[in-house]
């Protein structure tokens, strides 16, 4: 008994419909903080990464865009995250011994800005106190005393010298080039010509005196720098003593105003010592003060470049009460500088210079002790950012370097700031492909990001999941200050979620498209105006969205309608069939029919895929065609050589073809050509076939059906038209209502098949036939006709071969 042919699918099987009454039941349930729907796997991973203390359990959140990854991360962090390490404020201060190595100081919360402000006040106060001290009578008197003491010492040395010289008739003469000792006689200097006339003995005496006093003069004058040095040291000691009084008092005040943490005490001590060593800074600043009417009011000494050495560069400052709240930082522009901090430079006299006050914090600093969330693709796109991030996590510290130095762009004064200890959980958000690539090519990645939170694209459609999604969407509407949704509108929107999932048993968890539709629908509703978003508003949003993107589809349909592209929707043809393909442009998918033709003749067993021959067929398509050959050779004329020459082509197709979803159509066309049984042109067929003749599921089944439907509808539906699909795709059906309405009224049909035999029988109207006990196919069936044809080809080929052989030997048959 021949197996029954599958029948047309009922309307209920073509589209799931959410019952608004279900949603009405949950409408009254309180809108708690909206949890994500269907993301248990991802959320569990997220909570693990947040809770575990080890620093290498950083998190990669992967999944398609629009599935609420970022929202989930933000929500969970804000509600469940606790500080990873006791939070601290961080500052950079001057390293007085090595200014190019600024010192990082961790301070209790709230202290950084206090310290910064207090240091500014210290400088402002001392900038007026120290100059006043140095102007005082006390200082001036002591200073004059030292000056006079040393002045007299030097003069005394010279006076003693000249006095001694005078006793031996030697005078000291000053010339523009220096001093000279000269011999005197009778109160007058002996000149060269006079000296030359003197007796030798007297000359010798004079020369000896000259030499001796010359030597003494050399000693006296060379002693002057030593005296000068001693004078300077005495003055410096006096200055230090004077400055010390003012500085010590003011630094003690600062110490009392701030906490006595060891770092602070050490820093203030160093500042104290430096100020005492360099009181001239304050004197210089006083000398540079403007002389306007209000010099004191205008002068903020701490702003002067002279005093930058005492300032405090606040890198991270938290309010004192922020102890229990971890920092959570979302950095949307993760460049190298914005991530790890940067060192700025300023131009001075044509050079670029920097100091510790020009160090700027990055996201790592701001998030230290808490959580940093980054977009993975953006981090990887920014030069050196990924490397900086990994290095910081591995070394558990933030080292700020200049990017220009790193890439040796130019040589400038630069800094080596102390690295700041880092305790941080990093959350990267990215897609699956990126995750895979990182796992494959970056050995550090799996070491540092041990947790992956895989976000689902869809969830099983059930009353519970529908209710959860409904709550989510209502919450969204409320949060975005949209009009409330009617139950019907919500039900329609949830059905659209199933359509987006491409599976009637699922709901898509890509919330972006749904919220986009919702907002557009709400816009239409507001324009009416109505109080709630209605079902028709959702419908309109969906259709308008499609219309905006469907220009190319409409042009394609137009070319088919105008028969520029030939597609038959009635009649019967041998070896010609309506296949179906789906196209995607800019995120919009549409289906369209394509004419596939098959031609056969005797040959050497070659099945030519014309698309592959001209390199328009992709590998998956070629694989599908080769499977056909496998089916043919394994099903028919098994005891004769395969002697077919067949060609298959997608007519009027000038672009690439990929995928095997048309292989069933191609096989049916081939069988039609071999059996010479005409195929219905009012049907289209889609499906992938294996070597056993089983029809397998394909993608885009909804769009393909709708594509053929639209062509038929444009030519007026005859009631005989329809699409044959794989039975395995029935559970993916979520057809538009224009199609389901036509099916409901009997003007269109969708028929599922599981085998190619069912397909050939539906398309030709002739039973496919099966192999009987005698080894032959059922008489008159398509398979029997196919096998007979192939056997005929084999016999003809054998006859030709024999004739050729005879012609070769010269024998007559």
């Amino acid at each position: 008994m021949a197996p029954e042919l599958p029948s047309t699918l009922a309307v209920e099987q073509l589209r799931k419909r959410c019952d608004p009454a279900l949603l009405a039941r949950v409408r009254s349930e309180p809108l708690a903080e909206a949890a994500l729907v269907g993301q248990d796997r991802g959320l569990t991973a997220l909570r693990l990464s947040i809770g575990i203390r080890h620093n290498d359990f950083n998190l990669f959140v992967l999944g398609p865009q629009g599935t609420g990854r970022r929202t989930a991360v933000e929500t969970v962090l804000r509600t469940h995250a606790s500080p990873r390490a006791p939070s601290e404020d961080w500052v950079y201060v001057n390293n007085f011994d090595e200014p190019h190595k600024p010192i990082a100081m961790g301070l209790p919360l709230g202290k950084a800005e206090l310290l910064r402000d207090e240091m500014a006040r210290v400088v402002d106060d001392l900038a007026s106190e120290i100059p006043a001290l140095f102007d005082s009578e006390e200082y001036q008197t002591q200073r004059r005393a030292i000056d006079e003491e040393f002045g007299e010492l030097q003069e005394k040395a010279m006076a003693d010298f000249t006095s001694r010289a005078r006793t031996e008739d030697i005078a000291l003469i000053r010339t523009p080039m220096g001093f000279m000792v000269a011999a005197m006689r009778d109160g007058k200097v002996i000149k060269t010509d006079e000296f030359d006339k003197l007796p030798e003995g007297e000359q010798a005496v004079i020369e000896e005196k000259i030499a001796r006093f010359q030597g003494e003069l050399t000693e006296v004058l060379s002693n002057a720098p030593k005296l000068e040095r001693e004078h300077r040291l005495r003055i410096e000691a006096l200055n230090a003593e004077m400055a010390g009084r003012a500085v010590s008092a003011r630094i003690d005040e600062a110490r009392n105003a701030l906490d006595d943490t060891p770092e602070l005490v050490g820093f203030l001590t160093r500042v104290h010592d430096d100020m005492i060593e360099n009181p001239e800074l304050f004197l210089r600043a006083a000398a540079q003060k403007p002389n306007g009417p209000f010099p004191e009011a205008l002068g903020k000494a701490h702003l002067e470049p002279l005093f930058r050495r005492y300032m405090v560069n606040v890198m991270v400052a938290h309010p004192a009460e922020a102890q229990e709240t971890p920092p959570i930082v979302f950095e949307d522009l993760p460049t190298f500088d914005r991530l790890a901090g940067r060192i700025e430079h300023i131009s001075q006299m044509g050079s670029l210079v920097t100091d510790f006050t020009l160090i700027r914090p990055g996201a790592l600093h701001r998030a230290n002790g808490g959580y940093l969330v980054l977009d993975a693709r953006r981090v990887l796109s920014e030069p050196y950012a990924w490397d900086a991030l990994k290095r910081s996590i591995k070394e558990r510290s933030i080292a700020i370097t200049s990017l220009a130095d790193r890439i040796s762009l130019f040589s400038t004064t630069s800094l080596e700031p102390d690295p700041i200890p880092l305790d941080l959980r990093v959350v990267l958000i990215g897609d699956r492909l990126l995750h895979e690539l990182l796992v494959m090519v970056d050995p550090d990645f799996q070491e540092l990001f041990k947790v992956q939170a895989d976000f689902e694209e869809s969830v099983t459609r059930s009353d519970d999941s529908l209710a959860d999604m409904a709550r989510l969407l209502r919450h969204y509407a409320e949060k975005e200050d949209l009009l409330p949704l009617s139950d019907e509108a919500l039900a329609r929107l949830l059905d659209e979620a199933t359509r987006l999932a491409e599976d009637a048993a699922k709901l898509s968890l890509r919330l972006s498209p749904l919220t986009d539709i919702l907002r557009e629908a709400e816009h239409y509703a507001r324009a009416e105006p109505v109080e709630k978003v209605r079902r028709e508003d959702i419908d309109r949003a969906v259709s308008e969205r499609d219309r905006r993107a469907s220009r190319v589809r409409d042009r394609v349909l137009e070319t088919i309608a105008r028969r520029t592209i030939l597609i038959d929707t009635e009649g019967r043809k041998v070896g010609q069939i309506n296949g179906l393909s789906v196209h995607e442009l800019g995120g919009f998918r549409f289906g369209r029919p394509s004419r596939i033709s098959a031609r056969v003749r005797m040959g050497t067993g070659k099945l030519i895929d014309i698309e592959r021959e001209v390199e328009l067929g992709g590998p998956l398509h070629s694989k599908g065609v080769m499977i056909l050959a496998g089916y043919l050779t394994a099903t028919y004329a098994l005891d004769v050589p395969f002697s077919l020459h067949a060609s298959l082509v997608f007519e009027q197709s000038y672009g690439g073809i990929e995928g095997d979803s048309a292989s069933c159509a191609e096989l049916v066309a081939l069988l039609s050509a071999l059996s010479e049984q005409a195929i219905r042109q009012n049907m289209a067929i889609t499906g992938s076939v294996n070597q056993l003749g089983e029809v397998q599921a394909i993608g885009g089944v909804n769009e393909k059906i709708e594509g053929f439907f639209d062509i038929c509808a444009e030519r007026d539906l005859t009631g005989e038209q329809g699409v044959i699909i794989p039975a395995a795709n029935v559970e993916h059906l979520m057809l538009r209502e224009r199609v389901t309405d036509a099916v409901a009224s009997g003007r269109f049909q969708v028929i599922p098949i599981a085998t190619v035999d069912q397909g050939i029988e539906l398309m030709t109207g002739v039973p496919a036939g099966r192999r009987e006990e005698d080894g032959n196919f059922t008489h008159g069936s398509v398979n029997a006709l196919v096998e007979a044809r192939l056997e005929a080809f084999a016999n003809a080929r054998k006859a030709f071969a024999a004739r050729d052989a005879l012609a070769g030997t010269g024998d007559q048959p």
Binding site: M158, A159, M180, A183, G187, V189, K191, T192
Partner: protein, 236 residues
């Protein structure tokens, strides 16, 4: 003591180098503001080479290094360049004071050349760079009867000009020039002021010794009387 400030004719600034002239000029700005005088510069090209005795005779720089005697040609070139610079300085100062000026270059010995130039009423300032960088006081030499009012006034003006104070100096043996010279020798000063009319300095040699001991600019009132006295002596 002589009477109050008198109208001066010339302010003669004499030096052997630009450095010395500038040191003198620093003291003289204030003088020009107070006294009516015409600044007159005099750069003397020293005859240092003529004083070299023997092959081992050297000059000693202010830092104690031994240097060879320069040739007279070199001294001449330096003197000429210094004179050119000094002219420019004087011109600038005179222009500020809205007065005319003069400047000469002569060869010879500083004190003699300066005294030859000076008129009786003129002020003479012999210029030399102070040995020390820090500012000392202006020394006012007082003779037996004290310092003249003119020299007082001059000293105060010069002290104001270089932001220092006046230190009157009086030797125990006030009639002996050597005593005052010795006192000056042991003080460090920005300038020294003396009125020859007050005594005890009477000759160019006295002035020369005082100048050598000062080691800073020396302002002299009544220097013209030395030329007058020389002239009378010559006539006698």
């Amino acid at each position: 003591m002589t009477n109050s400030v008198i109208q001066m004719r010339n302010l003669v600034i004499a030096a052997e180098s630009l450095g010395g002239a500038e040191a003198a000029l620093a003291c003289c700005r204030a003088i020009l503001e107070v006294f009516r005088a015409r600044p007159t510069g005099l750069i003397i090209e020293p005859d240092a080479a003529a004083l070299q005795i023997g092959p081992g005779h050297r000059l000693v720089s202010s830092s104690g290094a031994l240097i060879a005697f320069p040739s007279q040609n070199r001294l001449r070139r330096i003197a000429k360049a210094d004179a050119d610079q000094f002219r420019r300085r004087l011109s600038s100062v005179a222009s500020e004071m809205k007065t005319d000026w003069a400047c000469e270059l002569k060869t010879g010995e500083l004190v003699s050349a300066a005294c030859a130039k000076i008129g009786e009423a003129d002020i003479l300032v012999l210029g030399q760079r102070p040995m020390q960088a820090r500012r000392g006081k202006v020394l006012l030499l007082e003779a037996e009867g004290g310092a003249s009012e003119a020299s007082h006034s001059l000293a105060q003006t010069m002290a104001r000009g270089v932001s220092t104070a006046v230190l009157p100096l009086r030797a125990e043996r006030q009639t002996e020039p050597a005593a005052l010279v010795d006192l000056v020798d042991r003080h460090y000063a920005s300038a020294v002021v003396v009125d020859l009319g007050d005594g005890p300095f009477r000759s160019e040699d006295d002035l020369r010794q005082l100048f050598a001991a000062a080691r800073c600019p020396l302002a002299v009132l009544g220097a013209g009387r030395l030329r007058h006295d020389k002239g009378e002596d010559a006539q006698e």
